[in-house]
């Protein structure tokens, strides 16, 4: 940067006789560069980016590791007891003086030397019915020996959580057919598939067979109640309905007996076999294979074996219903509920959002009212989501739903049918919540269509609707799509309003199923976001549920991020496609 000309000319004005001042290149002072400020600003950016990267990496790592089969560690303690299980966490801590005093002399001396610093390991010990605990802290200074026994088995069960032990024998009809870990394991492995299939068949019979019969009876009871309400007790219609109910009950009892007999047969077949395991402490426990979801000798697995366990657990996670108070098994109902709710929501929000935007941009007379409405709609995007939940509960569930119940489901009262939280009300609430997103995006997309194109279309004789349908909407479609996707992403991740309008921790049935009328908009549903909240905060065994929460978090983030990326892609394509299109 050359110095200004004025400075060069300056010496000329210096009176004669004095030494002219030294001319030098004036450079920008270092203090003017504001380096500290720039560093603070740059640091803030790096910190913000680092925070999100750290969060995503944490969730990715912890969520991804959930299904990986961990080795089984055996700790032989100084007092002779043995602890077997998966290592869940390690931490270091400092022992208080009185705690050190109560220890054996040798350990005491070592700890004193370390000034009370010790570390401990959280071991998932399972075997809840024997020990009344799922986890146990093992103090490192109390461990005499540490080992990874070759035949230690991780057993995931239908109930009671995990079991850790070594196979001892395999019994059929009470007779031992295999002795020793290897033989017992292979005998079990041969039988396990069949036992599981019988278990599935039994559950299917219970749910589809007995469940359907119960529903038929319930329908008849409702018919009786409806007849009583409509024609009064003792009327001929009422008596007929009662007669039908009695017939139905007899009929159902006959069918149910047959189904129960089949179930009993399956159970008897499953009860024949038993895998005998011994725990680390030497206690014996016999488990029927049908009770075992999955078992594997954790320390014998090679990479392929581990991968197959990983894949099997992952598949179960995506496709099965939860077990064990949601802390094991899968999240299929939650995925299904989230998708169904989001789908219902978008069916409502996209058409209405587009209609409102079309009205605001194309039909309404532009003026102060429309700009006020626009501001209001914009602001609605900033209104807390819980407020929408309050609105949904108050209006949809308690007023609209209760009126529907009065009109159509009076027989079921006082049990509400629509007058409580359900997937329909949740979708409508979230539709209102995401409406501003769609309206704003659509308006922007409509505004981006050059008016020259509209005018051209009018000049060719098109009516307003024809111009909108043939010229404006196709041009704006990608923008509308992007808006819709953003709305879906927002809706899929929102939990607070759902807590009040219908998400539940465990829904007995899916909102869409194979029974008429197939779509059950009044049913409560499970939701991935609510699942996270529930698992993390309402679960009795929250330590065991933690890996599951991470995985569910990962799944939810993946869904939301993918939707967002899709919206960004669509928008970018729109920009490229129509960039500079103007007549």
């Amino acid at each position: 940067m050359s110095p200004p000309a004025v400075l060069r000319a300056a010496p000329a004005t210096v009176p004669a006789g004095r030494r002219p001042p030294r001319i030098h290149r004036r450079r920008t002072s270092l203090f003017a560069r504001g380096e500290p400020f720039v560093w603070l600003a740059g640091g803030a950016l790096v910190l913000a980016a680092g925070m999100i990267a750290g969060l995503l990496l944490l969730v990715l790592y912890r969520g991804g590791a959930t299904f990986w089969p961990r080795p089984l560690d055996e700790f032989r303690l100084l007092d002779g007891s043995v602890v077997l299980g998966e290592v869940a966490a390690r931490e270091s801590h400092r022992l208080a003086a009185h705690e050190i005093e109560s220890l054996a002399p040798a350990v005491r001396a070592r700890l004193r030397e370390a000034r009370g610093e010790s570390s401990r390991t959280l071991v998932r010990t399972g075997n809840f019915e024997l020990t009344d605990t799922h986890f146990r802290w093992v103090e490192d200074h109390l461990v005499a020996a540490h080992d990874r026994p070759e035949w230690a088995l991780t057993v995931e069960r239908m109930a009671w959580g995990r079991f850790y032990g070594t196979p001892r024998a395999y019994r059929v009809d009470g007779e031992t057919v295999a002795v020793g870990p290897a033989a017992a394991w292979s005998a079990f492995a041969a039988d396990h598939g069949g036992a599981l299939a019988r278990g599935r068949e039994r559950r299917r019979l219970e749910k589809d067979g007995l469940g359907r019969l119960n529903q038929e009876i319930e329908a008849c009871r409702l018919a009786v109640r409806a007849a009583e309400l409509e024609h009064g007790p003792g009327s001929s219609e009422h008596a007929r309905a009662q007669g039908e109910l009695a017939d139905k009950e007899r009929d159902v009892e006959r069918q149910a007996a047959a189904i129960r007999a089949r179930i009993a047969a399956l159970e008897a077949e499953n009860a024949r076999c038993e895998l005998v395991l011994s725990t680390a402490d030497g206690e014996e426990k016999a488990l029927p294979p049908a009770e075992i979801v999955r078992a594997y000798p954790a320390n014998r697995l090679d990479l392929a074996g581990k991968l197959s366990i990983y894949a099997s657990r992952g598949w179960e996670y995506l496709t099965a219903a939860p077990r064990e108070a949601n802390s094991e098994g899968g999240v299929f109902p939650a995925i299904f509920g989230t998708v169904a709710m989001t789908f219902l929501m978008s069916v409502v929000v996209v058409p209405f959002g587009v209609l409102a935007a079309l009205y605001l941009r194309e039909y309404a007379r532009q003026g102060i009212v429309v700009s006020l409405v626009r501001i209001a709609v914009n602001n609605l995007a900033g209104v807390p989501s819980i407020v929408f939940g309050v609105f949904g509960l108050g209006l949809f569930c308690y007023i609209v739903g209760a009126s529907i119940d009065q009109l159509l489901f009076a027989a079921n009262l006082p049990n509400p049918t629509y007058g409580k939280g359900g997937i329909l009300w949740a979708s409508l609430t979230l539709a209102l919540l995401t409406l501003p997103v769609v309206i704003v995006a659509t308006e922007e997309a409509l505004a981006a269509v050059p008016s020259s194109m509209r005018e051209g279309s009018y000049a060719c004789g098109a009516t307003k609707w024809q111009a909108i349908r043939r010229i404006v909407l196709p041009r704006a479609a990608p923008g509308i799509m992007a808006g819709a996707i953003l709305a879906i992403a927002r809706g899929a991740g929102e939990v607070a309003p759902l807590m009040v309008v219908g998400a539940v921790k465990l829904a007995p049935a899916l909102p869409i199923d194979g029974r008429a009328p197939f779509l059950h908009p009044e049913r409560s549903f499970m939701h991935l976001g609510f699942h996270i909240y529930d698992l993390g905060f309402q679960s009795q065994n929250s330590e065991a549920a933690k890996p599951m929460v991470y995985t569910t978090t990962l799944l939810l983030i993946a869904i939301v991020v993918l939707l967002n990326l899709a919206a960004i892609r669509v928008r970018a394509r729109l920009r490229r496609k129509f960039h500079g299109v103007a007549f």
Binding site: M1, S29, L30, F31, A32, R33, E35, P36, F37, V38, W39, L40, A41, G43, A44, L45, L47, A48, M51, I52, L58, E91, P351, F352, A356, Y359, L360, A376, V377, N378, N379, L380, P384, I386, V387, G389, V390, F391, G394, L395, L432, L435, W465, Q466, R469, G493, V495, A496, M499, V500, G529, I532, Y533, G536, F537, S542, T553, L556, N564, I568
Partner: protein, 863 residues
């Protein structure tokens, strides 16, 4: 030939249809949006409706044979059937809507057929339990109840079957009501009496008071010989369906010092059974502490009517039995309850206080009727007026009078459903239909401190639900608003500077090619579901931070210091190297300064813990050890450092600017480093000095500014809410900065300004309103955030400055309590009010931000 071109009919139809559908759909959609506000308002509005008292019926027939002879008047839940007990043991059942006597009963007849005079009686409306004392000194526990049965319509006379729903008629000594569902309910007065509890000394019982909890009755009987007995009666149900077996514990209360006083006018036993209040005719009250009945002591003596010549005329116990209402001859109505006070000097550490003065003066009070299930109180006065009060908020809800005469009601009752007041006067019975509205939720009740029973003084408390029906709901909104403010403050304190600085760096200093990807990554952060953030905050970050408190505090300070130190070291690089490395290497150096800062914090943590927190941060915060000097230094350091920086800039800045052009780059850098070090040192010394002053004046920041460490606390919430706030503020701020026209930037650079000077003097002032908007919208987001605060704060509605403690916000409170709130109850409507408040706050914030932004846009477009 010119062809006539016409629009096809189908096109016309479609055109009209489309116009109609779009207009209708558009307006309906926008209407739905407006509906939210209207609906919330519609639900909230009844909260502030006034109570209504409508006279319904009054019977002029004198009913009470000798006025004042009625010991007790009681009505059923619906306020239809009444029962009057006279001192000779006669019990009359009457229809309170017309005063007709339906039945006369003599429930106290002994086996021999004689009727011992009933000397004393005490009853409570809620469970209609009564304790009767007789002339021979026996005491019996019993009940006057209203037995309901549902007879089949066929058994009823035709006149009753013709009743329309809601109406009732006299039948067979009772009344029959027609119900909306077509059934009939028959009500009859029923008096049951337990076995006689025979006294050790057969002296007549003059006064009785009792309280009842479950199957346990604690009664205090004042005998004619001037002594009092405490009876603890437990009923054990008989397996064969006979009378329950009684287990009685009897304790003589200490003999009075002054026997000349005579018997007290009223005896009250608190529900917990821990105190007995004896009230004399002149207002003297003695409180006996009977927590241990074997060692009952006189806890305190006071005067409930301190004014000269004023007598207490009516005494009643409020639902829950912890509050006693005293009405006096000067018209005063006062609520008394025990309040724990540190310097009470009484045996149980509490003193009886007049928590609420419902009325100070007026016509003399003749009778009191507390509601059996809430804090409502009906009072009858000598001039015939009947008033309805809400005790907790000390509000007069409504007033009405007896129809004729000026005589005051003798007995008054508030029906259990709180939909009727029934009064028994010398001229007959009168009934008023009542709608108390939602008295707990007055503006004062919601926003002003209220003296709840058991508290030491007026407080802001939110506790909407308790274990029992007689729980006093505490609907103080202020702790929730405070919690919301606290969450927002910490989130903005952390998020806004970070986001604004990051936005300035992105738009002014970052390589153009990097801007778009960086921005979309941060925007992605905005779409992270908040339940995810809440989960991480509560189950990962909070436990982790708790295990490293001192290090975490050190890191907060170390990161900016390490960045500043990095900047000063960077300046030491020779100019050509610095210019060549100005791009990615510089960014990498900044990125390196962060982990170095964190590392520094981790290393410094234990030293900080030893120096400031006396070796254990949690115990220090708990107030268990250590002095305040280090903590004051730490708290003051950021403030002092800011002040020193400003002062240094003012004092040394002009001199440096004048001299520095002559210096070489290296010298400049060395001087800058020196200044940085000097400022840091000076700040530390100054902070230490101020802290020493404060410590010498024995000010301790504990408990107050800081306090006990709770795992889920405001600091953690602030940090995690930062994730939610930063992307929004960043995006909007970046938009505002990049919309500053480039010619301003170029002009400034061309005039010789450095990029920093351009950013500070030109770009940021131009975009200031946009930046302001960004922060406002960030505040709006933080105010309404639900899941993070719900999961990561512990949800305790407390008001403390302490950043290491939890709180409860409006939004989390809604999420926690709304699913359990009964539709249209006060609680339900108050939660709607919370939603409305949130709606209004965010709407106002966003509208203000929108207006500022549109002005900014207009100005920016003119530049």
């Amino acid at each position: 030939m010119r062809r006539q071109r016409t629009t096809h009919a189908r096109v016309r139809v479609f055109e009209t249809l489309a116009r109609f559908l779009i207009t209708a759909g558009g307006i309906a959609t926008i209407g739905a949006v407006a509906l939210i506000f209207a609906f919330l308002l519609w639900v909230v509005a009844p909260l502030f409706r006034r109570a209504a008292i409508v006279p319904e019926t009054s019977a002029e027939e004198p009913l009470v044979r000798s006025p004042g002879d009625a010991l007790r008047f009681q009505v059923d839940d619906h306020g239809v059937l009444g029962a009057v007990l006279f001192s000779d043991g006669t019990l009359l059942a009457l229809d309170v809507t017309n005063g007709a006597v339906l039945e006369e009963l003599h429930p106290f007849g002994t086996e021999a057929g004689e009727q011992p005079a009933l000397y004393s009686f005490s009853g409570d409306g809620a469970k209609s339990v009564l304790v009767a004392g007789f002339a021979d000194g026996t005491v019996r526990v019993g009940a006057i109840a209203f037995a309901a049965s549902f007879p089949p319509a066929g058994e009823l006379p035709a006149a009753i079957r013709a009743l329309s729903p809601g109406e009732h008629a006299a039948e067979d000594g009772g009344v029959v009501q027609a119900l909306p569902d077509g059934r009939f309910r028959r009500l009859r007065v029923q008096a049951e009496l337990g076995a006689a509890i025979v006294p050790e000394e057969p002296a007549p019982i003059l006064r009785l008071g009792h309280s009842r909890r479950g199957d346990r009755t604690i009664a205090c009987a004042w005998r004619a010989d001037g002594r009092a007995t405490l009876l603890d009666v437990r009923e054990r149900p008989d397996m064969l369906g006979g009378r329950p077996a009684l287990r009685v514990m009897r304790r003589e209360l200490p003999r009075r010092a002054d026997p000349r006083l005579g018997p007290p006018a009223h005896v009250v036993v608190t529900a917990a059974g821990d105190s007995v209040y004896l009230v004399w005719e002149d207002g003297r009250l003695e409180r006996l502490d009977v927590r241990d009945p074997a060692r009952a002591v006189l806890a305190e003596i006071l005067d409930v009517t301190p004014a000269e010549g004023v007598r207490p005329t009516a005494v009643a116990s409020l639902a829950g039995g912890a509050t006693m209402i005293v009405g006096d001859s000067a018209g005063g109505v006062t609520a008394w309850f025990a309040s724990k006070e540190p310097e009470a000097g009484t045996s149980d550490g509490s003193v009886l206080v007049a928590g609420h003065v419902l009325a100070a003066a007026g016509p003399a009070v003749t009778c009191l009727a507390p509601s059996p299930r809430s804090r409502l109180l009906a009072t009858g006065h000598a001039d015939g007026s009947v008033r309805l009060y809400h005790v907790t908020t000390a509000r007069l809800l409504g007033e009405t009078r007896m129809a004729a005469g000026g005589a005051g009601p003798l007995q008054i009752q508030l029906a259990a459903r709180e939909d009727a007041i029934v009064a028994l006067g010398p001229t007959g019975v009168a009934r008023w239909a009542v709608d108390p509205g939602h008295p707990e939720a007055s503006l004062a009740g919601l926003f002003a401190p209220v003296w709840y029973e058991g508290y030491a003084g007026p407080r802001h408390v939110w506790q909407s639900e308790g274990g029992s029906d007689s729980f006093e709901p505490k609907l103080g909104f202020v702790p929730l608003v405070y919690g919301t403010g606290k969450a927002t403050l910490y989130a903005i304190l952390f998020g806004a500077p970070l986001a604004l600085l990051a936005a300035v760096y992105t738009s002014e200093f970052l390589d153009r090619r990097w801007r778009a990807p960086v921005k979309s990554v941060l925007e992605m952060m905005a779409s992270l579901p908040s339940v995810v953030l809440g989960f991480l905050a509560a189950l990962v970050i909070a436990p982790f931070v708790q295990s490293v408190v001192p290090a975490a505090l050190a890191v907060i300070g170390a990161i900016p210091l390490s960045l500043l130190a990095g900047a000063h070291l960077w300046q030491l690089l020779p100019a050509p190297v610095a210019i060549r490395a100005g791009g990615y290497p510089k960014l990498a150096a900044m990125a390196l300064a962060l982990p170095l800062g964190i590392l520094g914090g981790v290393v410094l943590g234990p030293a900080l813990e030893a120096a400031v927190f006396a070796g254990d941060a949690t115990m220090w915060l708990d107030g268990q050890r250590g002095g305040p000097l280090g903590a004051w230094t730490m708290l003051l350091f950021p403030l002092v450092a800011g002040a020193v920086c400003v002062a240094g800039g003012r004092l040394a800045g002009p001199w440096l600017r004048q001299r520095s052009p002559d210096w070489s780059g290296g010298k400049c850098a060395r001087v800058a480093l020196l200044r940085f070090a000097l400022q840091g040192g000076a700040s530390l010394l100054l902070a230490l000095g101020l802290a020493a002053l404060l410590a010498a004046a024995s000010f301790d920041p504990r408990p107050g500014i800081v306090g006990t460490y709770v795992q889920r606390n405001a600091l953690v919430v602030g940090f995690v809410m930062g994730f939610a706030v930063i992307p929004i503020v960043y995006t909007l701020a970046e938009d505002a900065l990049s919309s500053v026209p480039d010619h301003l930037r170029l002009a400034s650079l061309a005039a010789g300004a450095t990029p920093w000077q351009t950013a500070i003097r030109v770009v940021i002032p131009t975009a200031a309103s946009g930046l302001f908007t960004a922060v406002m919208i960030g505040v709006g987001r933080a105010v309404g955030e639900t899941m993070i605060v719900l999961m990561a704060t512990g949800n305790t509605p407390i008001m403390e400055l302490n950043p290491f403690n939890g709180f409860r916000t409006l939004s989390a409170n809604i999420a926690v309590e709304l699913p359990e709130a009964v539709q249209n109850s006060t609680h339900y409507r108050v939660l709607f009010l919370a939603a409305l408040v949130l709606f209004a706050i965010t709407f106002v914030l966003n509208t203000a931000a929108e207006l500022v932004r549109s002005r900014f846009r207009r100005r920016a477009s003119r530049l």
